[in-house]
């Protein structure tokens, strides 16, 4: 696998788009967290608002992993975009064929792309951890791993977003189609998720059965649903009316979707004409 990754690196390292998106992503994570951080910092320093919020700072070490994972999650669309471009480029240049002609198996071709999706997810997670450390130390609180599972959830979200991107790319083959389809799917899934969530509320209110937030059972929303911004103490009062979060079911589903898209992406490359 190392040999395959070395070749993949040869393809990527001189590609300007790769460099630009990687830089935008890193800066974007730092910047978006900085904005959230400074909003709360200002509120704390403003005495009347601070009373309301009970001096709640989401970047204290106690909350930071939850906050940084949630805030950074929105930027995962950038590595997704990069992955779609890198994979559909192979189809546009027909280098997917040439790689196989020159002596890769179809399995090697798709495996290294899956590996790339995994590496992108790992790198995104590392950037998030570093960002978390930077801002948490600025609050002056002492180091803590409280809520570090949320970094794991962020990784799961990155991985599932990336694998959906790999599947859509190898399925549609054209950059424009694939990017468009990804966004349309994202929008459509969110609308359906909202409807399902609304329905969940109704079911919970009218019967004794609590189905949980059913919107979270969809592929993208499963890993989205695991991440949330830390609740400030005032807000949690409203929570009791909402459906229960069956976190374990959602984690299981999120992992199931990761495996599903991995399997579908591989199948597409191995079974069809290139």
């Amino acid at each position: 696998m190392m040999h395959l990754l070395k070749i993949e690196w040869m393809k990527i390292k001189n590609y300007k788009v790769f460099l630009i998106i990687a830089i935008f992503f890193t800066i974007g994570i730092l910047l978006s967290n900085y904005i959230v951080y400074s909003v709360f910092d200002n509120m704390i320093n403003n005495s009347s608002a601070a009373m309301l919020l009970d001096k709640f700072n989401p970047y204290d070490f106690k909350y930071v992993w939850k906050s940084v994972s949630y805030t950074s999650g929105y930027l995962l669309i950038l590595p997704v975009l990069l992955l779609i471009i890198l994979i559909t480029n192979e189809f546009t240049f027909r280098t997917n064929r040439q790689n196989v002609i020159d002596g890769w198996s179809r399995k090697q071709f798709i495996n290294v792309k899956m590996m790339l999706a995994l590496i992108f997810a790992i790198c995104s997670t590392l950037i998030v951890i570093i960002t978390g450390l930077i801002f948490a130390y600025r609050t002056g609180t002492s180091f803590s791993f409280d809520g570090f599972t949320h970094v794991g959830f962020f990784f799961l979200k990155a991985l599932s977003y990336n694998l959906i991107a790999v599947f859509i790319s190898v399925w549609l083959k054209r950059t424009g189609f694939a990017v468009g389809a990804y966004f349309i799917y994202m929008g459509a899934e969110n609308i359906i998720a909202q409807l399902l969530d609304f329905w969940s509320l109704k079911i919970k209110a009218t019967s004794s059965f609590d189905p949980g937030s059913m919107g979270d059972y969809l592929p993208m929303n499963a890993s989205d649903g695991l991440l949330s911004f830390p609740d400030n103490p005032l807000k949690s009062i409203a929570k009791s009316a909402l459906p229960t979060d069956y976190t374990n079911i959602v984690i299981a589903l999120a992992i199931f979707y990761v495996v599903l898209f991995y399997w579908m992406g591989r199948r597409q490359i191995i079974r069809h004409d290139l």
Partner: protein, 295 residues
């Protein structure tokens, strides 16, 4: 030993059969031309052999073995179009090819020199002309000096000088004992370099074998006199002819390629008391032969 053995290979695109139960074998050391008009299944055939297309039936072997990806690393292949990363230079692209084929990068300079791309080796592929792209694809196929070359329309997009150079290159490689499988619709290309030929039409194999047996290319002498019947009967006795036939107003006499001698024909007729009113050498073109075979 056969380099390639194809057995009952078929491929359908939906309901359209692109390849129908094609079987043949390519002997080691041959220059094997796969000939056929556009859409006859040449590229489909080679695509299946290189595992970029899935066959609908049949099987094939390379080096008398069931092929794997490692088998393909022993072959240099140019299939249909030059496929490279547009934003990388020739050298960067060939480094990727070398890494996949597990060949030494040191060979890159040599192959770029063969196809005259040394001067432009650091320019991005996207800035190349069609002919240069084709040359780079040939360079990639030559990388690591493989024992078998598969070239699909190798002279596509090349200028006349380039075409001649590639032809010479193929002849030189054949002399070195390499096996070359070449698909083409250019008949003179095949005639000039190939030792063996397979002819495809609508996905069916029409014939295959030694090029000299399949593309026999007789000289034809067209003659006429006042009495065609007598002329024909006389010429049948002329030494060296392979076939005599009457057409509407002339008689056609076939001779083996390059042996027809108009003076000798004229003299032979005159000595037999016939004065010719018409005497002309007609080379039977390869096109005619090809059309005969494919129609």
């Amino acid at each position: 030993m056969a380099i390639l053995t194809v057995n009952q290979l078929s491929k359908n695109y939906g309901k359209i059969p692109a390849l129908q139960q094609v079987s043949f074998s390519v002997p080691k050391g041959s220059v094997f031309g796969i000939l056929g008009p556009n859409g006859s299944g040449k590229t489909t055939l080679l695509g299946i052999i290189m595992d970029v297309l899935k066959s609908s039936g049949g099987s094939f072997q390379l080096f008398d073995e069931v092929p794997t990806e490692n088998t393909r690393q022993r072959m240099g292949t140019l299939l249909e179009t030059p496929n490279f990363y547009h934003y990388l230079s020739a050298v960067q692209n060939l480094k990727i090819t070398a890494a996949i084929k597990q060949k030494d990068e040191d060979d890159i300079d040599r192959v770029l020199e063969i196809v005259n791309l040394t001067q432009r080796k650091d320019s991005p592929f996207s800035t190349y002309s069609l002919g240069m792209k084709q040359r780079l694809a040939i360079a990639a196929a030559l990388l690591g000096n493989p024992e078998v070359l598969v070239l699909d329309e190798p002279t596509n997009g090349l200028d006349p000088v380039g075409i001649a150079e590639i032809r010479e290159l193929i002849k030189k490689l054949a002399k070195e004992g390499k096996t070359i499988i070449m698909a083409s619709h250019m008949l003179d290309e095949v005639e000039k370099v190939c030792t063996h030929v397979a002819i495809l039409k609508y996905g069916k194999l029409i014939t295959f074998g030694d090029v000299n047996e399949i593309l026999v290319n007789d000289d034809i002498v067209e003659v006429a006199s006042s009495d065609l019947e007598r002329l024909k009967n006389t010429l049948i006795n002329m030494p060296g002819n392979t076939h005599v036939q009457t057409t509407n107003e002339t008689v056609h006499v076939n001779f083996a390629a390059g042996t027809a001698n108009l003076e000798a024909v004229n003299k032979f007729c005159f000595e037999n008391g016939i004065v010719l009113s018409h005497l002309q050498l007609k080379k039977k073109s390869l096109e005619t032969k090809f059309l005969e075979l494919t129609n």
